[in-house]
């Protein structure tokens, strides 16, 4: 690395760190406040030659989060365990089209990465963004080069293998002009790992005419606290589709990913599937700023609250251009007398009197009539409820590639078998 670049980064680092330090104790706007001081340092994990050489247990857990150790159906993979990047590879056929590495590496390799660092998410947003800067533990850098259509998904796994550690990743995803890709991110933990913290910063930059479908699966456990912070910046004619799936218990998760539709004709769609189980505290939303002309935002959320779970399903669309249009669609089912749900759609028009913003939100029980219809064909009541719930969560996602479709089906199947 050149001396000039090195000094430039350290200069920037100084700036980021100062800002981060000022937000070190700043609680997030939403969600329970987590004490970040009590986590321990994990051991360094060795690199592996192939995902197949990871332990069987790790492979299995990862598979539940969409990460396939057999990479035949993937164009590239990134695998991080605790604080160590153990694997990063682009399949031969996609070399030169896709780049995958740790963000720490990327910062050293390309000077422009520093220009984008903390551009889509403010470093001083809260104590979690601050922590990611002050104590960053890698994260992935994925870059799809100009004009490349990458038909097989890229996969990235953020894995927690030790108890009581905090993984503070900072990811960056660059989809250059005219490029087209799908990414599956699986965040999960080893079966015996009970407790931990995951802070995940993800900054997306979508160039002109590019398109990205980003699918994120979270599989945590009862004592995990999770604080993702996501920002997506779209240029002209870019399309971003986010699929977020949470079907297992968690202690708390709070996130409010934001998409900035700066370029004209850019569009975004957020699909969110939430199942609250046990004592899960789930506060998940999506925020879109319609800045460019003819921008479109759509957010579809389906949430099922069972046991003693609490779900906040938020959505916000801010219209800043007269030709912007956005719609929020949020529906929830409460399965338990002890569960709680709040659907909070927000529409804001900022000096854009002709912007069209709308929402529909509903919280309602499962229709008895449907349950008995299925029972009249021989299903027990529990089977019928679980099948209807599964159907309710199974959002129809236009343009979803078959690989992802199959994958989401399997995730829902697995969850409903375990008594969703």
């Amino acid at each position: 690395m050149s001396k000039v670049l090195k000094s430039r980064i350290s200069e920037r680092r100084e700036e980021w760190r100062t800002k981060a330090a000022s937000a070190r104790d700043k609680p997030a706007k939403f969600g329970p406040d987590i004490d970040l001081t009590s986590f321990t340092k994990p051991s360094i994990k060795d690199k592996v030659k192939s995902l197949g050489s990871l332990s069987h247990q790790i492979q299995e857990s990862a598979l539940y989060a969409g990460i396939d150790a057999n990479e035949t159906f993937r164009s590239g993979s990134y695998f991080q365990i605790d604080h160590s990047v153990v694997y990063e590879r682009v399949q031969k056929a996609f070399e030169g089209k896709v780049e995958i590495m740790s963000t720490a590496e990327a910062l050293e390799k390309y000077d422009w990465v520093a220009d984008l660092w903390w551009k889509a998410v403010p470093v001083d947003q809260d104590k979690y963004t601050a922590q990611a800067e002050l104590d960053q533990t890698h994260g992935y850098f994925i870059r799809i080069r100009k004009g490349q259509k990458v038909e097989k998904p890229i996969q990235a796994c953020l894995f927690l293998a030790e108890n009581n550690i905090s993984q503070n990743v900072h990811n960056m995803i660059i989809v250059e002009d005219g490029a087209d890709a799908q990414i599956i991110t699986g965040c999960t933990r080893g079966q015996e790992v009970e407790q931990g913290m995951h802070v995940g910063i993800s900054e997306f930059f979508l160039g002109k005419g590019s398109s990205l479908m980003f699918t994120m699966i979270h599989n945590w456990a009862e004592r995990f606290d999770v604080r993702p912070r996501t920002g997506v910046i779209l240029e002209e004619d870019a399309t971003y589709v986010s699929n977020y799936i949470l079907l297992r218990p968690v202690s708390s998760i709070q996130m409010y990913p934001a998409a900035y539709l700066n370029g004209d004709n850019s569009r975004v769609r957020f699909n969110t599937i939430l199942s609250g189980q046990k004592d899960s505290y789930i506060d998940v939303g999506s925020k879109t700023v319609l800045k460019g002309e003819n921008t479109r935002a759509e957010s579809v959320a389906r949430a099922v609250a069972g046991d003693r779970s609490i779900i906040y399903a938020r959505g916000q669309i801010i219209g800043q251009s007269n030709t912007g249009r956005g719609h929020l669609d949020c529906r929830g089912i409460l399965l338990s007398e002890e569960a709680e749900m709040q659907a909070i759609p927000e529409l804001i028009s900022e000096k854009a009197p002709r912007a069209e913003l709308s929402h529909e939100a509903a919280i309602s029980p499962i229709a008895e009539e449907e349950v008995y219809y299925l029972m009249s064909r021989g299903l027990s009541k529990d089977e019928a409820v679980s099948m209807i719930t599964r159907g309710f969560l199974n959002i129809d996602i236009p343009g979803l590639p078959p690989v992802l479709k199959g994958y989401i089906q399997r995730t829902l199947d697995a969850a409903s078998e375990e008594g969703l």
């Binding site: 029972m375 009249s376 099948m387 309710f392 199974n394």
Partner: protein, 274 residues
């Protein structure tokens, strides 16, 4: 006038009168369904009042009656839908009292219903419904039946979501064929179905009711019909007229229809007094 009052004494005569030609076949015939003095409420409203009905194995009955007379209610209460509260009487199916049994228990015992207005269920495909209906998954057979009923295009859609009237009826037939109940109920199977498709629906019903088996047939059925059109395709042995929550007439279904056509349901009010 083939209309008799619902006096048990006459009913016995009537059954003998209409069934005498079948008597040689009826030896050893068992009762499929016996409803005794059944009263049913929805909310606080009394819908069925001391209704009795007897259906033997191998028999197909038709149930006629004005809108709102309680036909659907009777079918739903036989299926065990909990919104319908039984306040009196009992339902015996193949010798056991099912009055307290749940819907799925009844389905597994061999009772099935093609709904008048089946609900649409988002996220559940017709093909999945067919799968549920079958004892064990048999995709080949599912597709074969779907082909015959001309519903292949519906298999991959959410069940009943946006189905036309005729499509919904055929999807119900598809599910019942897959379920293969020994006692099948059809709630206005022909309403909203065009002529070409009535033949399809009729042949599905005949298959469910094992009409092709002359001697060994056991399956029985109860068909609710307004128009009687379906009876041109599916032969019913006995007809009943339901009025104000109770069966007022019983007889040859075609004669009952002729009567209703001539005199309206009002005729039955009169006949009540005969």
């Amino acid at each position: 006038m083939k209309c008799f009052s619902y006096n048990p004494k006459y009913v016995i005569n009537l059954v003998i009168y209409f069934d005498h030609w079948r008597l040689p076949l009826r030896k050893g015939v068992k009762t499929m369904l016996e409803i005794e003095d059944l009263s049913v409420e929805i909310g606080d409203r009394s819908i069925l009042k001391k209704l009795s009905l007897h259906i033997d194995e191998g028999e197909v009955h038709a149930l006629l009656g004005q809108n709102g007379s309680g036909k659907t209610t009777l079918l739903m209460v036989i299926m065990g839908m909990p919104a319908y509260k039984v306040t009196n009487g009992r339902i015996i199916f193949q010798g056991s009292d099912i009055t307290g049994k749940t819907v799925d228990e009844r389905a597994r015992m061999g009772i099935g219903v093609a709904f008048q207005k089946p609900p649409s269920v988002r996220g559940i495909k017709t093909s999945q419904m067919v799968e549920i209906c079958m004892d064990k998954k048999d995709e080949k057979r599912a597709n074969e039946i779907a082909g015959r009923l001309n519903v292949v295009d519906l298999m991959d859609r959410d069940v009943n979501a946006g189905f036309s009237g005729g499509e919904a009826k055929r999807s119900e037939m598809l599910q019942l064929l897959a379920q293969n109940p020994s006692f099948a109920m059809f709630d206005e199977p022909e309403s909203g179905v065009d002529l070409d498709n009535i033949a399809l629906v009729g042949s599905a019903m005949n298959e469910i009711l094992e009409k092709d088996r002359v001697r060994m047939k056991k399956a029985a059925g109860l068909i609710v019909t307004h128009t009687g059109h379906i009876l041109d395709y599916v032969n019913a042995d006995i007809g009943h007229i339901l009025m104000d929550g109770t069966i007022v007439c019983e007889g040859n279904p075609r004669d009952l229809f002729d009567d209703i056509r001539a005199h309206g349901y009002e005729g039955c009010v009169e006949c009540r007094r005969c």
